[in-house]
Assembly symmetry: D2
Homo-oligomer: 407 residues x 4
């Protein structure tokens, strides 16, 4: 890789990415463009602008954007159409944000004439893979600088020394080491590392930042209704809202009722296991509701096919292959299935869980006339079941006869 | 089908199967053998013996058996090794009991020289399919009599008239129609029909029979530990127990904490949708715990393969293909994966949910040395990630370059 | 089912469907509309018109159509995009024609005010299922009459008696029984039954109707080039042609070189095995060519995903579920993959086989710069493979270490 | 990686691995153990012993073994039980040999106290991955030296200079560059690189080494019979043979009739496409025969499940994951299916193709009584098809009714 001349950095404004910013300037001697995004992580962005300016970034090289709507509309919602969960339980909150960040990094690089992008992910995790695969898929000639894989600032002490030597302001609470590491966006907050590294030990209460403890949630359940159109949530309790507003609202419901906590040991793409604490308050509610509306609007052929490809789809997102032909092919399949996933679900929220308790739709495939215990009105002839069973049994009978014969 | 001479009836001792018993005697003029099993449904069996005798069944033709251990050991546990859920949520409580009942029906037929079996499932449901596919798979020459598909007793009134005409005792509470229909065994209780037929309407509280309402569950969480060996639960809180004892105990924990309720609309194999209320108190806990122990004892290759075949495995059980080559092939795959699924999980039970909060095992694949945020002790070279990403990205770069070129 | 008043019959003009025509008139007393399609089966259609008139069908009730282009464009080509083969070998020649015939039957029923459709498929085969599932999927209220499952004309003798009694002309060669049964269309000819019923016996030479014996094919190979656009063949040897023309031409190449013969035992959807002789001269060439062009234009992610869903897609078509949400979902996935499947393949045709010997495309992903044995020009850094292998190996090392530890 | 002290080298006796041998001695200063295996590649092994001695290897450090039987019995045959083909066409001839070589390397390392293994695969191909993943899976502490990724002998000239400088004898025909690169074993010969690098160009005739040109094959077909037991070939024309003998014989049949040639562009695991010419004379015959015997001995449930997992199984072998939990899980599934895959297949071999023309077995599931066109003897009631179709159609009707309603 020839030396990069201008690099777009995914910049949070925090200590670590400020150090990276400085390190890029000093180590590579290259011009730095900063990109700071509001993905719903719950932090002010303007301080990042100030800090970037302080570190010598030209105003025209500072990009600060609210991309929450794009995030939910084009990434979170398409993923939820698939009911995607990784390894049975994880809602992919971190994974789904990376491709969008990379997309903007690459676009800003093209807009500013930069030839490289850079990120603050470590060499042990999945995020480096997700950032970089996305970047390369969008621009095969882009260079990627991953400082954590390159530099020798491999301890907290060395980082702080570098910061001091380079006049990077250090917030008081960053002097000591954080007891765990955090990622957050509108979909979730994840915590991992340090105090969480022993998977036998229960996570301490202070790790949870996004939800109340179920024990502290209201003692009475709350009921809400979510309306879907073609697989996407469009209204809560009858009130139409934008994608990001819906997720924000559901997060608030989830937070209040202690919904969406997950203590999880997962398999990283890079080959090791890690333990994380995830909080996905709105996401858990949304997943339950989406399943609820699919129950009456998808037929078994569509539903079972979706179920069977879901693990692969989730794995692709987890591993960083959002911008891959196979993810796009699976998305085409999933989106094709959602044409009639329109209707409303009622949920009960109570002390840590969200449960579907009712669902209705103009597009419903549920037929009381067929299923009723009452005497038939001709919709279904029970005698048909005889032939259905006989022909389904035929191969089993032939097998049984063969197995008898050769024994 | 030539006329059956002797038929083994799955006999509960209740009104409906007593009517079937009589109907078989009068309609087919054949000798009836009754089979009444304790699958953990929570009913006394001896009354069934008395009633069978009353209806003229010879003592040697009355079979009453406690098959709870076989049920859990050979059916429930193998299924839980797969983390099987149907359509994302249903734990297959009814489905998994049917093959065992059919197996005993066929075995008793062979032992008593009967040439037919009979069951009380209706012509609209899945159970007829499960009973009959299992029977034919075990004995290709067996005849199956499904009275509900044959007779003209198609209303409550006609059934009661038939009962009265044939001196079948009718319990007072059976005079009126039940407000819904119930199936129960050690794994679960399901309720469906009548008051539950509108999927938009919340199920009334009195439907739930096996669990307390989460609102009425204890206000303090309870923590338990489940130990697994090769994928099967073998102990609770360090105390070794038989399979059925473990499930019984977990049911009690679940009942108390309101765990395992599911309001569900599913796709029946026979082509229609139906709505059911399921209670699987111990099953929900067991599934969560099994996932917990797999998190540290299965590697990603094994886990992801299991996840990808699970929906098909669950569908096979749901559809009645327990005794099919493909279920057995999938079971071989699943069992192969469980050799090291040994260890202990700690769970928090609280107001409707069971959550893993810790897990440990001699067989753990989790390596703190690899995942730690601390400085590396050489277990993992972060620079390896560079090559890993480059080669994973290569095809994406080639795609991006091609797509640019042809645009 | 209430009695049908007017029925659209899939009418070949042959003896069997003429008997059905008469039987519908006499048995059901209903008006009959005939539909005779040119699907490339190689028979004149006008005799069918004459015969229908002779049997009393009104001119406005006789529909004769050449649907070869629609057949290839909307059914055969979409299927070939998937490289669909059933049970490893069968190119689904019969299966893929049925949905189109049903579609026209239903459309003609709607146009003529008919309330039923009828077909000449037997009660043992797959075709009845394919016809009827398609019809019901397109019009849930349509009635279907399947005479072979209803009538008592269950032997050749009875059929001929019925024909004679009803003045249906019987061609001389139809007096005796055909030695096997044939289905044909532009994609294939299949033969089954009678002399072919013993799968141990080699099929006699006279069964093959569509291809020369490879031993009699030319002694010199012939080379042809097929050009694809977005997954569909559009030209042969540089000459652009319509879909049906291309398939017709490929059939001629295949016939001449003895390509596309298959002696096969398959699993019918209705539960039994059957043995068939298939001839798919053009189809075999097309499949080979499509694979050839995909080799350079699809990347591994897309190709492997396609391969993994193909068996399910083929099974759906075989079983008659062309008009099902899951087939449409899979088609969406497949079509998404074909955007760049554009280019040309050279094939060698010789004595029974068609083999790709060259392929090229503007859309090629093949990169000589990357794969070359020559010294690298920087496209690929061999050292990257080190990290790639290390991280792929990590979980295997952790497994090996665990397995050692617990032994 | 600390410096290795003693290394086991996969040694062919050829120029390249002799250079590696010397380079290991000089560069790493470590003791070298050589392993030369007869995998059926058709070369004398004793010259390798002589050359190793000449290069200073102690007699006790020279391992020369005939592992053909183990290769076919434990690797080739298990793979053929799955009908495994990679990307639709490739029989995995190279891929399947690598795990066995690695196994012996690791075992010899353990036996001789070596701490490393080494191979001659380049940094661009799949073989490095296969060798190394296998080695790490069998011994997590083994070191692997891959000279082609490390050294600076990156051109033919440099290699020859190194050889001369180190007194390594150079055969005359190795002075110039080979026009392509070859891998061979009992299952196949592959050729790639240089003259084959343009996938548009037909491979020159001299590339093929293992089969006659179909044009030069006998003008008369030859018929052979292969007998299987539990999925493995055990006899040809009624004569029982060992696994390796069977494959050797089939290779001779295939060579003579020009069977098993494949011109292929594939996706390497390392991300690029490559073009190869494969010759698998016996393998092509064996695959066709195995499919033939499965046609009558596997039921549809087993067969379709096998088909659906086959692409993943093949990909695992291709990518080097033979020793992985998921390959072993899939093998358990496959082996479970083969219990009754016993019987005989007759094949016609003629000018480039092997085709099944008959098959029979005591374990056959084919039932003439069921499939016959003759009047039924009661084995099958055609009226059952009515109910079978109705219930399969039910969801399609409900869909059609819904879609009408909401339009």
């Amino acid at each position: 890789m020839s030396a990069p001349k201008k690099v777009v950095l995914a910049y949070s404004g925090g200590l670590d990415t400020s150090i990276i910013l400085k390190w890029l300037q000093t180590e590579y001697g290259c011009e730095v463009v900063t990109f700071t995004a509001d993905l719903g992580q719950g932090e002010e962005l303007e301080p990042a602008r100030k800090k970037a300016e302080l570190l010598g970034i030209k105003p025209e090289n500072i990009f600060i954007e609210d991309i929450r709507e794009e995030f939910v509309r084009d990434f979170v919602f398409p993923m939820f159409r698939a009911n995607a969960v990784y390894e049975g339980l994880y809602l992919l909150g971190t994974s789904i944000a990376r491709p969008l960040i990379s997309k903007r990094l690459v676009e800003i690089a093209e807009a500013t004439g930069a030839d490289a992008v850079s990120h603050g992910a470590t060499g042990k995790g999945n995020d480096q893979v997700r950032f970089e695969l996305s970047a390369y898929a969008l621009n095969p000639d882009i260079k990627v600088i991953a400082p954590w894989r390159e530099w020798d600032l491999t301890s907290r002490t060395k980082l702080l020394e570098f910061a001091e030597a380079n006049q990077i302001p250090i917030a008081k609470d960053k002097r000591g080491e954080a007891p765990f590491s955090v990622d957050a966006n509108l979909l979730h907050t994840s915590s991992e590392g340090k105090v969480l590294e022993d998977p036998a030990e229960m996570a301490p209460d202070y790790v949870y930042q996004r939800t109340v403890n179920p024990e502290d949630a209201p003692d009475a359940p709350e009921f809400i209704e979510i309306t879907f159109e073609k697989g996407d949530a469009v209204a809560i309790n009858g009130e139409a809202m934008s994608p990001a507003t819906i997720l924000t609202q559901l997060n608030e419901y989830g937070r209040k009722h202690g919904i969406g906590r997950l203590d999880f040991v997962e398999n990283r793409f890079v080959g090791m296991k890690s333990r994380g604490i995830y909080e996905t308050p709105g996401g858990d509610i949304l997943l339950e509701a989406h399943r609820g509306i699919e129950q009456i609007t998808l037929d078994s052929g569509a539903g079972h096919l979706k179920d069977s490809i879901m693990p692969r789809y989730a794995e692709l997102i987890y591993n960083g292959f959002w911008y891959s032909p196979e993810r796009e092919m699976l998305q085409a399949l999933i989106d094709e299935s959602q044409k009639h996933v329109t209707g409303t679900v009622r949920l009960k929220l109570y002390k840590g869980s969200a449960k579907t308790v009712g669902r209705w739709s103009e597009h419903s495939l549920y037929s009381e006339a067929h299923v009723t215990f009452e005497e038939d009105a001709g919709a279904y002839d029970q005698k048909d079941a005889q032939g259905f069973i006989q022909l389904n049994a035929l191969r089993l009978k032939l097998l049984a006869a063969r197995n008898r014969r050769v024994k």
